[in-house]
């Protein structure tokens, strides 16, 4: 109250009064301190991002230095001879995430279209809520379900069937383990489904109603309205949503670690056990006996950070652009 009508409060309300003569401005230290500390904590967030890159890079440096390019091109993972190459885990990460995107994209777009264009409001609310609940389940619970429900089901019914029907493809050959690349892909698909579908829903909602009405007035059927009026304008937004889903799939750890089987090997078959960048870190941090082993694990973490960082940046820029149009 002591600062009644001092000019700093007036400055705060109207920028015009900045032009007032400078002599009369009192500095309000409380305000300065407040604004300064808020700014510091906000900047702290940016600093943390930089610090993550620096500390991981620093810790992983011995591995990068020792192996050079062979760190990403070699298939070796031999703690005894201290030879480490990340190619199999990079392959595992890419294939499992790609599988997840392949399954989740059509499903998510379908759900989003169903919820925004077809379903009555009540149904849309309930189903939308249920799909979002999928995102709330902790990763370790998905893993538990994956071990005891999904993997046995894959082993006894899905994989033998796939082997019979599509067995001529190298993708579906080999013994059905249950745990393996396919299980990881499916569980990742379930986990990214709510992300992709709720983002696509937002994109569809942002499309002007007039566009739909125009299509209806021209005699389009319901599906034609969706295809011509909605999906067409939503393209870049959908791509952004899918890439954001990809970013989540690449770094998902626990559920994948529990169902992928954790073998450091490249195998064409989707039934075979594999491992991903995140799963190998979760699995081996405790067994890392030598410094170079730990540095290699952190090095994989550094690569994963860089990849998810760039993918998420791209996706957000796409979504921002999609929102503006």
């Amino acid at each position: 109250m002591e600062s009644q009508f001092n000019s700093s409060t007036i400055v705060a309300t109207s920028p015009d009064s900045l032009k007032a003569p400078k002599k009369r401005r009192e500095v309000h230290y409380g305000d300065r301190l407040f604004a300064g500390s808020l700014k510091a904590s906000a900047l702290g967030l940016v600093v943390v991002l930089g610090a993550i890159a620096f500390f991981l890079g620093n810790r992983a440096w011995p591995a990068f230095q020792k192996f050079g390019m062979s760190f990403v091109s070699s298939q070796a993972w031999d703690p005894v001879q201290e030879l480490f190459g990340a190619l199999p885990v990079v392959y595992g990460t890419l294939v499992s995430s790609f599988l997840a995107i392949l399954i989740a994209t059509p499903l998510s777009i379908g759900i989003a279209l169903f919820l925004t264009e077809m379903a009555p409001r009540r149904v849309s609310q309930v189903v939308g809520f249920l799909v979002e609940m999928l995102a709330a389940i902790p990763s370790v619970v998905y893993g538990l379900w994956g071990i005891f429900v999904l993997a046995p089901w894959l082993r006894t019914s899905v994989e033998p069937l796939l082997g019979q029907v599509l067995g001529f493809l190298p993708l579906f050959q080999g013994p059905p383990y249950g745990v393996g690349m396919l299980a990881a892909g499916i569980i990742l698909a379930i986990m990214i489904l709510p992300t992709v579908s709720s983002l696509s829903r937002e994109v569809f909602k942002s499309i002007p109603q007039a566009q739909r009405e125009a299509a209806i007035a021209l005699g389009a059927t319901r599906w034609e309205v969706m295809r011509l009026a909605v999906l067409k304008g939503a393209k870049s937004g959908i791509v952004g949503a899918v890439i954001l889903g990809l970013g989540r799939a690449l770094g998902e750890t626990m559920a994948v670690t529990m169902v992928i089987g954790n073998r450091h090997e490249i195998s064409l078959s989707l039934f075979a056990p594999a491992s991903t960048m995140a799963s190998i870190i979760a699995n081996e941090y405790n067994e890392a006996s030598s410094d170079i082993h730990m540095a290699s694990l952190v090095g994989i973490g550094f690569l994963l950070f860089m990849v998810t960082f760039s993918i998420n940046s791209i996706a957000r820029l796409l979504l921002m652009r999609g929102g503006k149009n």
Partner: protein, 288 residues
């Protein structure tokens, strides 16, 4: 676009109707297909976890292999400790950042901070764990509850910041102006009027962030590690519910699997009820 429309319009109407019907069926099936895994997960957690949950689960330590019974009392306490530490660290930071974004963050810097918050929120949680490992665990030369709390705090900051920002923006600017017109300094207006006026919904947002952090496993593996016994010291490894579920789930023992399901049931019910509660609160807020 006009040409495409006339193209489709001249094709047979019957065929267009058929395509329409098939696509609508497929879309409905997609929605149904997404709900099946939810019900499957929920059903198994309920049917396997509920019978395994009993009083000793909340009061006892795990029994050695071969003996039945026992519980996860130490993990429950551990999760509470870790989430508490994470909150001390993450909530003030998150709220301050959210406040900066809503009250001062209109310019370029605000945009950059918002972008970083979104990026930090979408970085895999295991990377944040690895970061805290290199920063704290390597320096202290041991796993500790503090390191685990720090990792959980880092996970909470972006969520808290963005939800606080959204909620503060809901406060109409005439309320701020009224405060300033009374001659209050800006910090008093921000803290005592704006923040206080919307503290209910903000608390709800915090609970959502806490629920998310409570279910995290990956960042705790190499920060808080795990502990088979009670742990009351903050510089010692500590057990947590998700890590204990993970440890038991990948073990070969039937009895431990039962315990894992019981833990999962507990975790899922807490997370679900918090989510439901939040939804109700936010819906009310939108109505007002």
């Amino acid at each position: 676009m006009r040409r495409r429309f006339s193209d489709t319009a001249f094709r047979g109407y019957g065929r267009r109707k058929l395509v329409n019907f098939v696509m609508c069926c497929l879309l409905s099936l997609a929605a149904l297909g997404a709900i099946i895994p939810l019900f499957s997960v929920f059903g198994y957690v309920l049917s396997q976890g509920m019978p395994a949950l009993n009083l000793s689960f909340f009061t006892e330590l795990p029994k050695p292999v071969g003996e039945s019974g026992g519980g996860m009392a130490h993990s429950l306490l551990g999760t509470c400790v870790l989430v508490f530490l994470g909150s001390i660290f993450g909530i003030p930071w998150g709220i301050a950042t959210g406040m900066y974004l809503s009250e001062y963050g209109r310019g370029r810097l605000g945009g950059a901070v918002r972008f970083s918050a979104d990026l930090l929120g979408s970085i895999p949680s295991i990377i944040l764990g690895l970061f805290v490992y290199t920063l704290v665990v390597v320096t202290m030369k041991r796993f500790s509850a503090v390191a685990g709390g720090l990792a959980l705090g880092l996970i909470m900051v972006p969520t808290v910041a963005r939800s606080t920002e959204e909620l503060l923006k809901l406060v109409p600017s005439h309320i701020r102006e009224a405060g300033l017109a009374l001659g209050l300094p800006r910090w008093k207006v921000s803290l005592r009027i704006v923040l206080k006026g919307i503290r209910g919904p903000i608390t709800t947002g915090l609970m959502l962030a806490i629920a998310r952090a409570a279910g995290e496993t990956a960042p705790l593996l190499f920060t808080a590690f795990n502990n088979r016994f009670w742990s009351f010291e903050l510089d010692q490894p500590i057990s947590s519910l998700p890590v204990q579920i993970y440890t038991f789930a990948i073990s070969p023992y039937e009895e431990w699997h039962r315990q894992a399901w019981a833990g999962a049931f507990l975790l899922v019910s807490v997370v679900f009820s918090l989510n439901l509660f939040t939804r109700v609160v936010f819906r009310q807020l939108r109505k007002d």
